[in-house]
Amino acid sequence: MTLDKFLALGQTAMELGLVNALTVLSLFLSYSMLNVCDLSTDGCFTLGAAVGALVAIAGYPWLSLPAAMLAGMISGFVTATLQTRMGVQSLLAGIVVNTGLYSVNMALTGNKANLNMNKIPTIFTMVKNLLKDTPLAGQSALLVMLVTVALVVLFMCWFLKTKLGLAIRATGSNADMVRSSSINPTFTTTVGLCVSNAFTGLSGCLMAQQAKSFDINMGSGMVTVALASLLIGGVFFAKHRPIPLRAAGVVLGAILFRLVYGLALRLNMPAFMLKLVSSVIVVIAISGPYLRRQVPLMIRRWQAAREGRNADA
């Protein structure tokens, strides 16, 4: 592989990794902080993409970002309401919303599985025009993503230190204690999922505009890919580290995941393997520590069995 090719690979990994990083940051809030595994992520990602694409096609590329975030927020509100006020188990609430969102997304696009944005202005083309004739022109897409991700990371660091953010973190860490501080965990869970899904929606919106196309299945498997990136990010900075470091680690995890994936494609791994790879990463990251704890036990069993055999002999 030549240096040029390697740099191009790195750039793609950066751009795609940063788009994914927004979804990963969203899971950082819901999964790591609030301790809710939000399985509506796939549908919400596609929802953000659909809404963003429609608004951009209607001629308002800038407006597409807040619109996609609002759509994500509404989706998060529904998921939260199901699990906090209507007795639906947390995992099921996510699955149900995810399924429902497929129809919602189809309805939004007018029963079209694809939308094409080749000839219309997007956030990325707008910024490219703004930067025309400056040295940054060639890197405008990367720049858009860097700025967006940086803003979201800054927001997250600020938000998680406010009283509301503390209450959301405490809800994931010890809900009893939240109640005894006179804060309603129903409220904190709802706010947490709304904010988190806003970023998932934003992520989908930027993904579609960067690819200049929307596809009804573009979010499928996103939750596992994002979870894999989140868990890779957790390797850099563990649970007890300061939040800004952990948030940065999560972004790093998303980029690294894309980089490794890009390299694997180079080495002739078929593209359809992405999802299996992310599944395996999630399983290793979650069950690894569990299995490690089992090893001493297994060794002792094995030793006991061997001694038993020796005694018999």
């Binding site: 009283k163 405490a170 204690m177 109640r179 005894s180 007890h240």
Partner: protein, 266 residues
Amino acid sequence: MLELKNICKTFHAGTPDEKRALIDVTLTVEDGDFISIIGANGAGKSTLFNAICGSFMLDAGMIRLDGQNVTMIPEHQRARQIGRLFQDPMRGSAPDMSIEENLALAAGKGGWLSRVSAADRKAFRERLSLLGMGLEDRMRQPVGLLSGGQRQALTLLMATYQVPKVLLLDEHTAALDPGTAEKVLELTRSIVEDNHITCLMITHNMQSALDLGNRTLMMDRGKIIYDVTGEERGRLTIGDLTDKFRQLSGRALDNDRMLLGIDNKE
């Protein structure tokens, strides 16, 4: 003033597991009272606290706190006025958050988007130093790193940070080793005295039930069977208490731990 009027709670009503945990309990707690509560396992002591906190709806009866009828008010809304500690030191604080962040939630000051200020930090530091455990120098460390005794002391501080109308202590030293238990009990006494907090304390330790506070209740099978204050209480010994129990409940106290007044894990 805390008033319980004829409160009743039956679990699993109408099933073979039916359990009448509180039977027509009436109790008036005066401001500044420090009441110790004793009774065998399953007597309904914790259920009494759950009723006061609103963990479930009563089957019958009424609860009035400081003049306000709170019977129908949900748990998290009552919590501002009630401080509570459990036997398990892990229950009162969030392990993944720092001491400072836990205290910020307990202090409950400022709007939703406010952050911990330098003034808050100074106040936290002062209050923490009163515990005499050096926690004031570890304010940024996660609470999960603290020992059980330190965590229980922190929970005590959190529960009383905004002075509650009533403080409920449910065997809050029973899971600590004897030395630490002593220390936490001493902290409890001084915090309650300094802030004139009305307090109810469940304990397995008959000696501390008699040493601490101004009134003692004995519970058995969902009822308060003995309620003693003043001079009569001043004269009581552990032996008198066990006699009383046998006489009033028709059974011997089945709990060795209680008889001996040892307050630690076996």
